[in-house]
């Protein structure tokens, strides 16, 4: 690895690389470079971004309690999939990020994806799911303060991120099945998946509405009683 002397630059790169630069490359290739290897390029990029973030994690400060809570929230969001009609992963990822910070949010999202796919089925989509949920969590962490103040913003973020998640994953599905990205096929795919996407978005929002307060209360209590 190249050794960077400047700690701030290093810190910036560590966050920016997986969260700004790589997604930018993925996006640019999607829009401009209509190469047939787009599926491969995006796959590799996502994998690299994940590896970078996760291995950089070793150096970060995350107290024992916060770490435990990440594992607790991850397990909860996986087991929540057993609930009827409620889809917990996006909602719990957002809530974890809101109270435990960006990093924790990323982890809860990414790890829930891996773990739940051991039940739902692994595939080439696993890294994308990890990345998508991870980013949803990471961004929610950045918006933590305003979202704690405004419930409405939280619901909006939850709804939008749930929807974006489905739409983005559809992009990859299209690229992978057809070898290239064309709007026509994308529309066909999203239309086919529409009932599912809508159901997903609604149950995700429903989960958020039901559990935003309890999760907040309970995490707040832990914070007050034991300190994080």
């Amino acid at each position: 690895m190249i050794v960077l002397k400047n700690a701030r630059l290093r810190g910036f790169l560590r966050t920016a690389l997986p969260f700004l630069i790589m997604p930018a490359i993925i996006l640019v290739t999607a829009l401009g470079w209509r190469a047939e290897h787009y599926a491969l390029v995006s796959f590799v990029m996502v994998l690299l971004a994940l590896l970078l973030f996760l291995s950089g994690f070793e150096k970060r400060e995350l107290g024992t309690r916060r770490m435990i809570l990440v594992s607790v929230m991850t397990a909860l969001s996986v087991i929540g999939r057993l609930l009827p009609l409620l889809k917990p992963i996006t909602a719990l990822t957002v809530l974890s990020a809101m109270y435990l910070g960006s990093e924790a949010g990323f982890l809860v999202g990414a790890l829930s994806a891996v773990l739940s796919n051991f039940i739902m089925g692994q595939g080439p989509w696993t890294p994308f799911q990890m990345f998508a949920w991870g980013i949803i969590g990471f961004l929610a962490g950045l918006l933590a303060k305003p979202m704690q103040r405004s419930r409405l913003l939280l619901y909006c973020y939850g709804a939008v991120s749930g929807l974006t998640y489905s739409l983005l994953l559809d992009v990859w599905t299209v690229v992978w099945t057809y070898g290239e990205f064309t709007l026509r096929e994308y529309w066909a795919a999203t239309l086919t998946a529409l009932p599912y996407t809508v159901l997903y978005a609604v149950s995700n929002l429903l989960f958020l509405v039901i559990f935003a307060k309890p999760v907040g209360d309970k995490l707040h209590r832990i914070d007050v009683k034991y300190g994080l």
């Binding site: 309890p214 209360d217 209590r221 009683k225 300190g227």
Partner: protein, 547 residues
């Protein structure tokens, strides 16, 4: 050498004006086995935590705690972690990883011990604790007793000089608890580990302890060898109710000589001091026969088609308004019987009737509304709100009126979070919540688990209050002392069938092995004495042997 010394420790929790520890001073010699007892909430846990740096409570304090001459907070981090071991009450939640071998390795990994050494230590400790067969298992598949042994082993693997244990057997059944204590005694003898054990199951611990420390309201009220402490302790001290039966009897009848600690001691030295002209107490008037509230007849149950029967030909009935205790060992089918009675499970043969009506004939909700309710073993599965008041309001908005008759004043716990209550208080809060569904038949699964003697007494009073209001109670328990003292009738379940059923006095005096300490102690001298009160009454009636 001094292993642990407290000197004038006084501690106050933030947002509290009452100190939780007051001027506590004592010291333990290396290799001592000390037992710390006291009612729930007297500060035992806080005291233990002051000796474990990582768990020191967030309170303001004066005074010092030293470990082998060094102040605990001045210890190097790794020394503090390794040299002072801590085992907590709940077996399940102390386990960190999902493999037994990894759990054992966890502590050594944290200390940065090389792989080869870890491998060796795991092999050693597994053979010492007889857990080679479990190494590759998931801890979730172990029994409660095994889990607690695993917790002990994963602390012991770091070779601590001092072992602190906070009610480690509270969640275990009597057999597993005895096993755990035996292991502890072995560790103390084999490695001269200094042990400080907070416990309220004193019957089994006092005979093996070197020291007994008694706490009351945050202060140390007695300290010395068990015998000397027990001889001096005032008879109305709160911890007295939890003492072994021989001790209670000795103190209540004013025996002379040394205080007996075990059943055999009592038979040898205490009972010969009394005459035995009157061998039995007058039989209390039998309860008038009433309608059965719950009747099992020829019930069979199994969890899977090809599995063995858990209940086979179970037949028994509970009369309206009585307190019936169903006792028996692990796997006898007690909890399954309760689940059937509550309608959660269904029998594959035989019938269960509740108030004369077949359980299958109750429409889905009518059974649980105003008829049958189950208070589960793990009462935390009942709570979901932020305060006890909200919990109660969830069932019935007008809970103060509905609980007017509840035989316990709940007002102090109403604003508290259910998880901040002690085990006994949680039990009572859950009971109150359950009572709001207005059951006529209440089923309780191990309600005394983890409770100290005083909380048990409190619970028993509440239960009596309920029977007086006409509620029928079926209690499933391992706690034979509780059953002997409080039940109207007891039933003994084994291999899924009812072996015997009778009033506690007849039931326990006819049992030989599965019976109370008093019954074993007075056997051959008096008939039908099963509780300490029985034995005290008989001794007093007969008077002392003339010399």
């Amino acid at each position: 050498m001094e292993a642990l010394a407290f000197s004038h420790l006084t501690a106050v929790y933030p947002e509290s004006d009452r100190p939780v520890l007051r001027d506590v001073s004592f010291s333990l010699e290396a290799g001592e086995f000390a037992v710390l007892c006291g009612a729930t909430g007297c500060g035992k846990t806080t005291l233990l935590r002051f000796a474990k740096r990582e768990l020191t409570p967030r309170c303001t304090h004066t005074g010092t705690v030293t470990f082998c001459g060094t102040a605990v907070e001045a210890l190097e981090a790794r020394t503090a972690a390794a040299q002072i071991g801590f085992v907590m009450q709940h077996p399940e939640q102390q386990i960190v990883t999902d493999r037994v071998w990894h759990e054992l390795a966890f502590g050594l990994e944290n200390l940065g011990v090389p792989q080869a050494v870890i491998r060796r230590r795991i092999a050693e400790i597994a053979s010492y604790f007889g857990m080679e067969d479990w190494l590759t298992k998931d801890p979730a598949s172990l029994s409660g007793g095994q889990k607690q042994i695993l917790n002990l082993a994963s602390v012991m693997i770091m070779q601590p000089a001092l072992l602190l244990l906070d009610e480690p057997t509270a969640q275990l059944d009597p057999l597993a608890a005895a096993d755990f204590l035996t292991t502890l005694q072995r560790l103390n003898r084999d490695f001269s580990v200094t042990i400080l054990l907070a416990e309220h199951r004193l019957g089994a611990v006092i005979p093996i302890a070197d020291r007994l420390l008694v706490m009351e309201n945050g202060a140390l009220t007695a300290d010395g060898s068990p015998r000397s402490v027990l001889e001096k302790l005032p008879e109305n001290a709160p911890v007295m109710a939890g003492m072994p039966a021989p001790v209670q009897l000795f103190r209540a009848v004013g025996g002379s000589g040394v205080c007996p600690l075990s059943v055999s001691d009592a038979r040898r030295t205490l009972l010969p001091q009394f005459r035995a002209e009157i061998r039995t107490l007058p039989e209390p008037a039998p309860r008038p026969e009433t309608e059965p509230a719950l009747a099992f007849s020829g019930v069979y149950f199994r969890y899977q088609r090809r599995a063995a029967d858990v209940l086979s030909d179970l037949t028994f009935s509970v009369q309206t308004g009585e307190l019936y205790c169903l006792i028996g060992g692990n796997g006898a089918g007690k909890s399954t019987a309760l689940a059937l009675a509550s309608g959660v499970l269904r029998a594959y043969a035989g019938t269960v009737r509740v108030f004369g009506k077949k359980i299958a004939d109750y429409k889905q909700r009518s059974l649980h509304q105003g008829c049958v309710t189950l208070l589960p073993q793990d009462v935390q599965t009942v709570f979901l709100k932020n305060t006890v008041a909200e919990e109660l309001a969830e069932i019935d908005r007008d809970y103060p009126a509905a609980l007017k008759d509840f035989p316990f004043d709940l007002s102090a716990m109403l604003p508290m979070h259910p998880y901040d209550l002690s085990g006994g208080q949680q039990q009572i809060a859950a009971l109150a919540k359950v009572m709001l569904t207005k059951p006529r038949l209440l089923l309780l699964d191990e309600p005394t688990k983890g409770l100290d003697a005083q909380s048990k007494k409190l619970l028993a009073d509440v239960l009596y209050g309920l029977t007086e209001r006409g509620v029928t109670l079926l209690v499933v328990t391992h706690d034979i002392e509780f059953a002997a003292e409080h039940a109207d009738r007891c039933g003994f379940l084994s291999q899924g069938a009812l072996i015997s059923s009778d009033t506690p006095r007849r039931f326990f005096s006819e049992n030989v092995f599965y019976t109370t300490a008093v019954s074993r102690m007075t056997r051959g001298k008096y008939d039908g004495a099963v509780t300490v009160a029985d034995a005290v009454a008989l001794c007093k009636l007969n008077g002392r042997e003339e010399r």
